[in-house]
């Protein structure tokens, strides 16, 4: 294979150095929104309707982590190769904030009532779509353990392509929620489209390579 094309393939050269301090720093950084929210809940400083605020903020963090997960690959190739090491952690954090989002919904909006959950899923497409996104995150999260990843081999990568589905469903969830102002949905939409286009372009160049060889 010519040297010039190998740089397009992933993984490029992920730095072998596994710096535990940097990893701990990243881990804590991603936890900051959760700690801030917990503190606000404890000190009761979320205003008269904490439920609404918590739903809003946890949902926003899911979207932000989905952007980071999808951006990690191109950014790793464009000069921050270490970021590839953190992709899985970012993905797990997306799942973590999505789970918090769901827990707040269960606690405050439906009061842990299965009946109301079924009604919500049946009647409100945005709830269904959001719930589906969370459900897909479950197998992605569970299979992120190294031992399972090794066992799964090539299938692991195939399964984790579902990340795209999570992003799309999450975005639909947000769009469906927008009532009079679609600003947020537009911003995330543009970012996701750019990140998808990047991959489409990448796959195509790979396909061309395969044909050539």
């Amino acid at each position: 294979m010519p040297a010039s094309t190998s740089s397009r393939r992933f993984p490029v050269v992920i730095p072998p150095a596994w710096n535990p301090a940097a990893r701990a720093f990243f881990f804590l950084l991603c936890l900051v929104p959760f700690l801030a929210l917990s503190n606000a809940v404890i000190s009761d400083s979320l205003g008269p309707d904490p439920a609404e605020h918590l739903m809003h903020v946890t949902g926003e963090w899911v979207m932000r982590f989905m952007v980071l997960v999808l951006a990690a690959t191109p950014l790793a190739r464009w000069g921050w190769p270490r970021l590839a090491r953190y992709r899985r952690m970012l993905g797990l954090y997306a799942w973590f904030y999505a789970t918090l989002h769901l827990l707040v919904f269960a606690q405050v909006y439906i009061g842990w009532s299965g009946g109301i959950l079924v009604e919500e899923l049946a009647k409100r497409p945005y709830v269904l779509v959001g719930f589906l996104a969370w459900l897909i995150l479950v197998p992605l999260g569970i299979t992120s353990a190294n031992s399972i990843r090794r066992k799964m081999g090539r299938n692991w990568r195939k399964l984790h392509k579902l990340t795209y589905a999570v992003a799309i469903l999450g975005w639909l969830h947000l769009l469906w929620l927008s009532r009079s102002d679609v600003g947020d949905a537009v911003v995330y939409g543009v970012i996701f489209v750019l990140l998808f286009l990047y991959r489409l372009w990448n796959w195509q160049s790979k396909a061309v390579l395969h044909k050539a060889s």
Partner: protein, 325 residues
């Protein structure tokens, strides 16, 4: 002649002394002067909080539908958690940004199918109508609710003054639309067609529960609550309670309302609180009585017509409320 000569002249209201463009401009000049003097740290804090005036009024009477018995929502919650999209879509935006709205002088225009169309300024409204307190449950379509002590007077008294014609079947309301003072209306991604509009059927407008509101908790309305004059219709979802009214028209056909324009499948003209008819976004069976908390969400069952069925159900006899939501 017993009449004193000055009585031949109408009293001049402050709104008539200075043209609007001049005082709006003067306000801007004053802001600019303050800002350049370095007295103000950030642009958003330019507008000083309005001085709220104490009002005198008849207190709500025990045992009547005019005085809900539930615990009052704290003033702080009622005035910092608001929907007033002219200032932004977050609940905290109105309290933060509505200070930029000029509410004095203020004038409302009443027209359409009335025999005596005209204008009323705030001074007249405050002096001509007897104010009373009404403690009402307030239920938002987003499934949160409050209990608020409003101060105002029945809308019917205001309408009667303009003598609606018999063919007038509906009443249309419009909110102030002033881009320079309302940052939400300048949002590029907002899809609301300003000004905000709402409407009532004539019998709903004349119902004694329907309140033209000028205050809450004993004082004039803060801007985020719809100063200086708003509507409160306690058996309907909150979005019917149009804020900062500048225009009222009596019409013979059902007026188009802002939310109906935006999403007719979600927001009906009637918008009666109805736990049996769910909204595409929110189940209406329950509500969160504010202040709520994460571990004690104060979820309560929503009542038909928000508990005012005894006073209003007869107006909807024979109507399919799932169709006319």
């Amino acid at each position: 002649m017993s009449k004193k000569p000055w009585q031949d002249y109408p009293q001049i209201a402050s709104s008539e002394i200075t043209p609007e463009s001049v005082w709006l401009n003067r306000r801007n000049l004053m802001k600019a002067a303050t800002a350049s003097a370095g007295l103000v740290m950030a642009g958003e804090t330019l507008a000083q909080p309005k001085q709220l005036k104490e009002l005198s009024f008849l207190p709500a009477v025990d045992g009547t539908p005019f005085k809900a018995t539930e615990e009052l929502t704290p003033y702080e919650a009622a005035t910092t958690y608001n929907n007033f999209y002219e200032f932004g879509t977050n609940k905290s935006d109105p309290a933060r940004y509505a200070g930029s709205m000029t509410t004095d002088p203020w004038e409302i225009k009443v027209g359409g199918l009335v025999n005596k169309p005209g204008k009323l300024n705030l001074e007249d409204i405050m002096s001509d109508f007897d104010l009373e307190e009404r403690i009402y449950r307030f239920r938002c379509v987003e499934a949160w609710s409050m209990v608020v002590p409003w101060i105002g007077f029945p809308l019917s008294k205001l309408l009667e003054r303009f003598d609606p014609k018999s063919e007038g079947k509906f009443v249309e309301f419009k909110t102030l639309y002033r881009r320079s003072e309302m940052r939400g209306t300048r949002s590029f991604t907002s899809i609301i067609d300003w000004p905000y509009r709402e409407g009532l059927r004539m019998d709903e407008a004349m119902n004694p529960l329907t309140l033209m509101t000028v205050g809450l908790y004993g004082k004039t309305l803060p801007n985020q609550s719809g100063a200086p004059l708003r509507l409160v219709v306690p058996w309907k979802y909150g979005f019917k309670n149009i804020k900062s009214i500048v225009e009222i028209n009596v019409t013979d056909r059902q007026p188009k309302t802002s939310w109906q324009d935006l999403a007719p499948q979600e927001y009906g003209f009637y918008a009666n609180v109805n736990p049996k008819v769910s909204h595409p976004r929110w189940s209406q069976a329950y509500e969160r009585r504010l202040p709520s908390s994460l571990f004690n969400p104060s979820r309560v069952k929503t009542q038909m017509f928000n508990g005012y069925g005894g006073q209003v159900a007869s107006m909807y006899k024979g109507m399919d409320l799932a169709r006319f939501y």
